[in-house]
């Protein structure tokens, strides 16, 4: 695959949330508003790039049989390092992103990409893959977050959209709202995909 394709694939074709169904736990928990979604996306992308680089570096030394525990140690150490360093030198950033860091530990995109990509590819490609996946994840939870915040709170980015009389649909802010939104969006993207496939097939058949 060309380097550019490694970068772009994570955004739509292999979107971690809508396509690979990875990282659903944070996608459900944190997508209550656009602001949170962007924060989680930024923190996850950062850790993803770091862990992909490290895993790609050590991939030749790690015996295949114990690779998973090794990756877990690497990822956990990296998250902890980020938490400690950020708390000491960037306290303001730590305040806005700090609550997302413990949740990254349960983000299986990180381990998923380490196992499926970084352990088999070079550092350069692993970085591209991580950035693409990170952007794709951010895009997905921001989209979910926008829908949930708009319906569940009547707001976008913390500002009212419909005015103070709007009666929010509380369900959308709570966990079921996340499942419903993700389900409908996944369905929508599947329909979109099928239509595109049919179009290319039709073209290919005639050509």
């Amino acid at each position: 695959m060309r380097p550019l394709a490694e970068l772009v694939k994570g955004i739509y074709k292999e979107n971690p949330v809508f396509r690979l169904a990875l990282g659903l736990c944070p996608a459900l928990a944190v997508s209550t508003s656009v602001e949170n979604a962007l924060g989680m996306g930024a923190a996850a992308t950062f850790v993803l790039v770091g862990s992909n680089i490290t895993v790609s570096f050590i991939r030749k030394f790690v015996p295949t049989k114990v690779r998973i525990p090794c990756y877990i140690v690497v990822i956990a150490s990296f998250v902890t390092t980020v938490e400690l360093v950020m708390g000491a030198y960037l306290p303001e950033l730590a305040k806005s992103l700090g609550i997302f860091l413990p949740l990254i530990v349960v983000n299986c995109i990180i381990l998923g990409r380490a196992e499926a990509f970084a352990s088999k590819n070079g550092v350069g490609r692993s970085i591209l893959d991580a950035v693409g996946m990170g952007v794709g994840f951010t895009f997905a939870i921001t989209l979910i977050g926008a829908i949930r915040e708009l319906l569940g709170d009547g707001k976008l980015m913390g500002y009212m959209v419909f005015g103070p009389q709007y009666q929010p649909v509380l369900l959308m802010i709570l966990a079921p709202g996340a499942f419903i939104t993700i389900g409908l969006l996944m369905g929508y993207f599947n329909i979109l995909d099928e239509r595109m496939k049919k179009k290319t097939e039709a073209k290919g058949g005639k050509g």
Binding site: G39, P63, A88, G98, L103, K155, Y159, I173
Partner: protein, 232 residues
């Protein structure tokens, strides 16, 4: 056998490098983080009591008399060396949904809360984290048109509810029509944690320092806050 040793060796090596690395980083950053946290707490005490920045705080740690464990509180004086007591402050630690919520509480001489400030929490973003939320009254249209009202001085609504309450006012309610602390929707555990920790801390504080004027607002049910009958 040799293969087995190789596996164990590799795993042990990675774990060792990781732990040494982490302990080195912790050693390098711990002090800076602590200094920052203390400065932040001091600032929060001033804000919670709404007093002058040159107020002087003296920490008192009680013997393990109250509730079986030592209790630490701060007495605020108007300035260093002054006898003029402005009020008291203590730090409440509440076990929330996913973290310990740290709340700095300011109390006046009558035992009424002047203000609270949550300084540390790692609750679920979007749910429990709303205990720190500042609810904007601006619409997105006003913001885009550039005529939004300045809200920089607005306090977080959940924490503002604690102001002017005594021990018996501190209970969590779920409806706006009830009197008390309105819980954050979908985050009862976080709301309870803050309220209970503040309530317990206030009861302990009052049992230690007593209050000036008896107005009946501080009789906690269960007798946790027996007044000592002495002025502060």
């Amino acid at each position: 056998m040799g293969n087995f040793l190789r596996l164990v060796g590799a795993l042990a090596f990675i774990a060792l490098v990781a732990s040494f690395g982490l302990s080195a980083i912790y050693g390098a950053t711990h002090e800076i983080t602590e200094t920052y946290k203390q400065a932040e707490e001091a600032q929060a005490r001033i804000e919670a009591l709404a007093c002058d920045p040159d107020a002087f705080f003296v920490e008192t740690v009680t013997d393990s008399l109250v509730g079986g464990q030592p209790f630490s509180y701060y007495t605020a004086y108007a300035s260093e060396g002054s006898d003029d007591v402005l009020g008291y402050s203590f730090t409440a630690y509440g076990k929330g949904y996913s973290s310990t919520i740290v709340t700095i509480v300011g109390v006046d001489l009558a035992g009424i809360i002047c203000g609270v400030k949550i300084t540390d929490q790692k609750e679920t973003p979007g749910l429990g984290s709303k205990i720190q939320e500042v609810a904007s009254q601006n619409t997105i249209w006003a913001v885009m048109a550039g005529n939004a009202v300045d809200e920089s001085g607005v306090k977080p609504w959940f924490q503002k509810q604690f102001e002017m309450l005594g021990v018996d006012g501190l209970r969590v309610v779920k409806s706006t029509t009830d009197e008390g602390i309105l819980a954050v929707t979908g985050a009862t555990i976080s709301s309870d944690a803050v309220t209970e920790s503040v309530s317990e801390g206030l009861a302990m504080l009052l049992s230690v320092v007593g209050v000036e004027e008896g107005d009946g607002s501080r009789d906690a049910d269960g007798g946790t806050a027996r007044e000592l009958g002495e002025g502060a």
